[in-house]
């Protein structure tokens, strides 16, 4: 009973979804804002509670960090959506349904990060696909509908692979309970195959190479949906991968994860250099960050602390960037980089935010992602020497240049056009998120304390 507070975020967001069914002017917006605020309060209060590892929950430091990330992005996404939905001319459904789906989507993510059972984590992550597929299609044009379909079919197929992995793990160990698996650390061949399949299956949802083809699809989703996808959905899938790495005592699983993580960074960096669509470019930047997080989990030790820092800081910064791309899109009516000029002259606040945001998500100092990547690289050097670290740094630099060059071009080139920025309250939301992503730096000692029992290198 003492630990039922961990169910509060899930329960509040589900209640929010249920209440959204009631018709009333602005009712669904008010309910969703209240629910998301309540969730954030409940999550923050849970940060100081003891871990709960039992037959039903598996809530440790990593779960708490994920819950905090989900709660923060959920609230800011709801707030930003209240303004953004007005700009959608021909929505696929009423705004009530949008908020119902958004609230259930958040609930499914909370469920995934507190469950003690790998099978139920799978059910939770699959439920995020069900609830979010329609959110991708909100704008109701042919491209977003096609994106939604590709999202469903690619992600679901990947998740079937992780369901097979769950079957293997259960067949090999007789349990799916995380805490039991952590006590026994099975080492047989079927268990190993199950873990490797799970990494590929959940990796599909997290945008990890070689099943990385859907994150560019979420570049086509409405900006608040892109924000919550990049900010928390990908890390929630990575959370499942982290648990698979954690339950394994076999070095092959960590090496496999490390290779997948490094290849993801390399492929994402190369893809970023050829992008002509700014939303898709930032989607590939998310893929690069997920690769780094996976490298951190695979390494263990301070790599895990680095991964946790990147999860929270990237979630906040990337959601801010996607909110800003929504502002840019609503003014320029194009997602093509070539069509965006004079951003600094026409939309100074958004341009300033986008400049800071692109620096933040590509790991420039003093943003927290830089610190997180340093932790990961330090652990990489300690475990595998300099060569791999140099390769990774090289591709991080390529990604940094690719994103910031293009963003700089959109912001600083061109001289035409007057001020087009409307001073609306929601334009402050991305700036708040970006500021919070810097403040994550001050949470590093707390993260170290939370994650101490989690992984050993």
């Amino acid at each position: 009973m003492q630990y039922s507070t961990y169910l509060l975020p899930l329960a509040i967001s589900l209640c929010g979804a249920l209440l959204c069914i009631i018709r009333g002017a602005y009712f669904e917006k008010i309910v969703s804002i209240v629910a998301a605020s309540g969730v954030l309060i409940a999550t923050v209060s849970n940060l100081w509670k003891a871990d709960n590892i039992s037959g039903f929950f598996y809530v440790d430091g990593l779960s708490k960090i994920l819950m905090l990330t989900i709660a923060l992005i959920y609230l800011t996404t709801v707030l930003y959506s209240t303004a953004y939905l007005k700009h959608i001319k021909n929505p696929l459904f009423q705004s009530r349904l949008y908020y119902i789906l958004l609230n259930i989507f958040a609930a499914a993510m909370f469920f995934s990060v507190i469950a003690d059972n790998l099978g139920l984590i799978w059910v939770g992550i699959e439920a995020t696909t069900v609830t979010s597929a329609l959110l991708v299609a909100t704008e109701n044009d042919q491209v977003t509908i096609e994106s939604a379909w590709r999202y469903v079919i690619i992600v679901s197929t990947g998740l079937v692979i992780s369901l097979i992995s769950t079957t293997f793990i259960f067949g090999a160990s007789g349990t799916l309970s995380l805490h039991v698996l952590l006590q026994h650390h099975p080492t047989n061949r079927v268990f190993l195959i199950g873990l490797l399949l799970g990494l590929i299956g959940f990796g599909t949802k997290a945008g990890i190479f070689p099943m990385h083809t859907w994150p560019d699809v979420h570049g086509k989703a409405p900006s608040p949906v892109s924000a919550i996808f990049s900010g928390v959905l990908l890390p929630v899938a990575l959370y499942a991968m982290a648990r698979l790495i954690q339950v394994s005592a076999l070095p092959a699983v960590r090496i496999f994860s490390l290779v997948l993580g490094i290849l993801t960074v390399i492929v994402a960096a190369l893809m970023m250099t050829v992008q002509t669509n700014y939303k898709r470019m930032f989607a590939y930047s998310s893929m690069e960050n997920m690769g780094m997080i996976l490298v951190g989990f695979a390494l263990g030790g301070s790599g895990v602390i680095g991964a946790a820092i990147v999860i929270l800081a990237h979630g906040l910064a990337k959601s801010g960037v996607f909110f800003l791309t929504g502002d840019v899109l609503s003014t320029y009516h194009s997602t093509d980089i070539a069509d965006i000029h004079s951003l600094f002259k026409r939309m100074p606040r958004s341009a300033f935010g986008l400049f800071l945001g692109s620096m933040a998500v590509t790991g420039a100092p003093p943003f927290a992602i830089f610190a997180g990547e340093l932790f990961i690289l330090a652990q990489l050097i300690q475990s595998y020497g300099w060569l791999l670290a140099v390769v990774l740094i090289l591709f991080l630099a390529i990604a940094f240049i690719a994103v910031n060059y293009r963003t700089g071009k959109m912001i600083f080139t061109g001289t035409h056009g007057g001020i087009a920025e409307q001073h609306r309250w929601e334009t402050w939301i991305p700036l708040i998120n970006l500021s919070l992503s810097v403040l994550v730096l001050f949470m590093i000692p707390y993260f170290e304390q939370l994650l101490k029992p989690f992984f050993k290198p």
């Binding site: 059972n117 042919q142 096609e146 067949g171």
Partner: protein
């Protein structure tokens, strides 16, 4: 009992091969419905051979028949009816493989499924016909990759799910009931949502063609 399972597994592979060669969407939906009934029969037989946990497998068989065998085909058929005046004439008109090619690739994939199983898991599991779910999985993947019609791609995904039920039951004596039930409910939700998306997608393609392909490339 082992031989009965083998016969059911063989029957499922044949049904999936027929889906691969079927061009009409309604035909594929009915074939999927029949294959779901076969999976339910398999679960009932599995329940009879595991007296201790049999009742859960019977419940699961009931859920499989009702959701996979009846409700999902009904939803898909309803979606077809709402979109087309003559739903029975809706067909895959842009298959990536002809009939001959698909027969050849299907057979090769079945062999690959058997090869992968024999060289990776057979040594550990010692179940001779455990390769059937793998062969089914490969067939379903081909169905998704080789077709452009979204309804048929969805059916391919559902066949994959059936393959997982077979795998978990046959090779590993089942997953915990709560996970299996959760998976079925997720599946139902996914089919409802997908039917909506497919319907809007098909309407858009009928009106505007598929010029969106260029924008989604890269």
């Amino acid at each position: 009992m082992g031989q009965t399972f083998q016969i059911l597994g063989f029957f499922l592979i044949v049904l999936t091969l027929l889906m691969q060669w079927e061009t009409y969407v309604k035909g594929v939906i009915w074939l999927f419905s029949i294959s779901s009934f076969v999976v339910a029969l398999f679960l009932v037989l599995l329940g009879l051979s595991h007296p201790g946990q049999g009742y859960l497998l019977f419940v699961l068989a009931g859920l499989t028949v009702s959701v996979r065998g009846i409700i999902i085909p009904l939803i898909m058929n309803k979606a077809l009816r709402s979109l087309y005046k003559k739903p029975w004439r809706v067909r895959e008109d842009r298959p990536m493989l002809g009939i001959g090619g698909s027969i050849l690739v299907s057979l090769i994939l079945i062999l690959i499924g058997f090869f992968i199983y024999q060289n990776s898991l057979y040594e550990v599991l010692k179940i001779k016909s455990g390769a059937v779910p793998f062969a089914l999985f490969m067939q379903a993947s081909l169905l998704i990759i080789s077709r452009k019609n979204a309804y048929i791609q969805m059916m391919g995904f559902l066949v994959m799910e059936n393959a997982v039920v077979m795998l978990s039951g046959w090779v590993f004596s089942g997953l915990p009931f709560v996970v299996e039930a959760g998976a079925i409910l997720d599946l139902l939700g996914l089919v409802v949502v997908s039917s909506l998306i497919i319907r809007v997608r098909e309407e858009a393609i009928m009106q505007e063609g598929d010029s969106f392909e260029k924008e989604l490339r890269g």
